[in-house]
């Protein structure tokens, strides 16, 4: 599993749709002061579920939407998408417990898999395994992948409209923030994971208290 693309549209200073592909092992981002490099880092944190506007250097969450410039009017929406290659890693069968009876609208309930694959997973179910009696749990079979979704490509998107409406989507289907968190559980990827070092914060791990450092080590466990 690897990150293949980042797309920003209307996010901070990226008024136009802008794509960054990551086909190489080390990709450098350069440019003059104030031109938008750290806004890219904010975009990655935001799509992964960052909820504090202060940690995105703004006052309110609306501040992430392109606010206009000398020659442009403000955008109506900010959108950021992370695209992952999610090939089959090996063919061993993995039994996954699906949470089918989510309390929200079923078409939004995503859990570990995007809704259409729930149908797919259920079909595989009847072929091969006996469902545990009672309760909502179902067990499905699928090939092992980096992200627990049965799809070769996984797109994670977050949108925010000027009226304050906020959405999360996995493979173009709406879901909850919890679903995004579940998706990345145990991968080391997250809005405040150790794998994102913000500008000026390289020493943060050294300057943290022994308890805070412990939390970082726990994340890696």
């Amino acid at each position: 599993m690897r990150l293949s693309k980042l797309t920003l549209h209307g996010f901070k200073s990226f008024a136009d749709r802008t794509e960054f592909t990551f086909d190489d092992a080390v990709v450098g981002v350069v440019g003059p002061n104030g031109c938008g490099k750290s806004n890219i880092v904010d975009a990655v944190k935001w799509v992964l579920g960052e909820r504090s506007s202060k940690s995105l250097r703004g006052k309110e969450m609306i501040d992430v939407i392109f606010a206009g410039s000398a020659g442009r009017s403000p955008s109506g929406m900010a959108s950021v998408t992370l695209t992952f290659d999610n090939p089959v890693e090996d063919d061993s069968v993995e039994m996954v417990e699906l949470d089918l009876a989510s309390d929200e609208d079923p078409s939004l309930a995503c859990g570990d898999v995007a809704p259409e694959s729930i149908g797919q997973a259920a079909a595989e179910l009847s072929e091969d395994a006996s469902a545990p009696q009672g309760g909502n749990a179902a067990v499905a079979k699928r090939r092992r992948r980096g992200l627990p979704i049965d799809a070769d490509e996984v797109e994670v998107e977050r949108r925010l409209y000027r009226d304050g409406t906020s959405q999360y989507l996995i493979n173009a289907r709406r879901c909850r923030l919890k679903d995004i968190r579940n998706l990345f559980l145990d991968t080391g990827i997250g809005a405040d994971a150790y794998s994102i070092i913000e500008q000026g914060k390289v020493d943060a791990m050294l300057l943290a208290s022994p308890l805070e450092r412990r939390a970082i080590f726990e994340e890696a466990a």
Binding site: V30, G188, M205
Partner: protein, 181 residues
């Protein structure tokens, strides 16, 4: 769980402070260590000191001594020494649990040329674990990248992405002969 934390802690300890650990690689010698330490907790208003060997209750202390020096604590390290120690610790955590990508925003800002060079080669050495997105103003770090993206504001206030080759990044940091490839 307790065992899992214990395992991860041991791996990080070895990767960071071991004889072939990241600290010695980045500093060309010296000694470093991560240690469990007792924490002071407040339970029912009483101050209680936890037992440092209790894996689930203790804090983590970092000790770093560059070659030939005996700083009493990491607060005495210089700006560049702190950045290098932090990078060594980050890479050690990474080894125990790599994530598929890592973003580094001007992590080399406080480094001199020689340390910038070492930082770049450590990033290269880790490409078998992960992919890196590195934001930098240092030419030496740019040279270690497989691909460079330039971000400019040709139109004031609006960021635009341009593809850049290393030789196009001018001495004054501006991006020359931009192409929108």
């Amino acid at each position: 769980s307790r065992e899992r934390f214990g395992e991860v802690f041991e791996t990080i300890r070895e990767e960071f402070g071991g004889p072939n650990g990241m600290f010695r690689k980045l500093f060309g010698g010296g000694r470093a260590e991560v240690r469990l330490m007792p924490l002071v907790k407040e339970i029912d208003g009483q101050k209680v000191v936890t037992d440092e060997t209790d894996l689930l209750e203790s804090g983590i202390e970092v000790i770093a001594k560059p070659p030939g020096k005996e700083p009493r604590s990491i607060s005495q390290l210089s700006g560049g020494e702190k950045s290098m120690t932090a990078v060594a610790l980050l890479m050690s955590i990474f080894k125990s649990k790599p994530s598929c990508f890592c973003v580094l925003d001007e992590v080399d800002a406080a480094l001199d040329e020689a340390n910038t060079e070492r930082f770049g080669s450590v990033v290269r050495a880790f490409t078998s674990f992960s992919h890196f997105i590195v934001i930098t103003h240092h030419k030496r770090t740019m040279q270690q990248c497989d691909r460079l993206y330039g971000v400019t504001m040709q139109e004031r206030g609006v960021s635009k992405r341009v593809s850049v080759r290393f030789d196009q990044v001018g001495a004054d940091g501006q991006i020359q002969n931009q192409s929108n490839a």
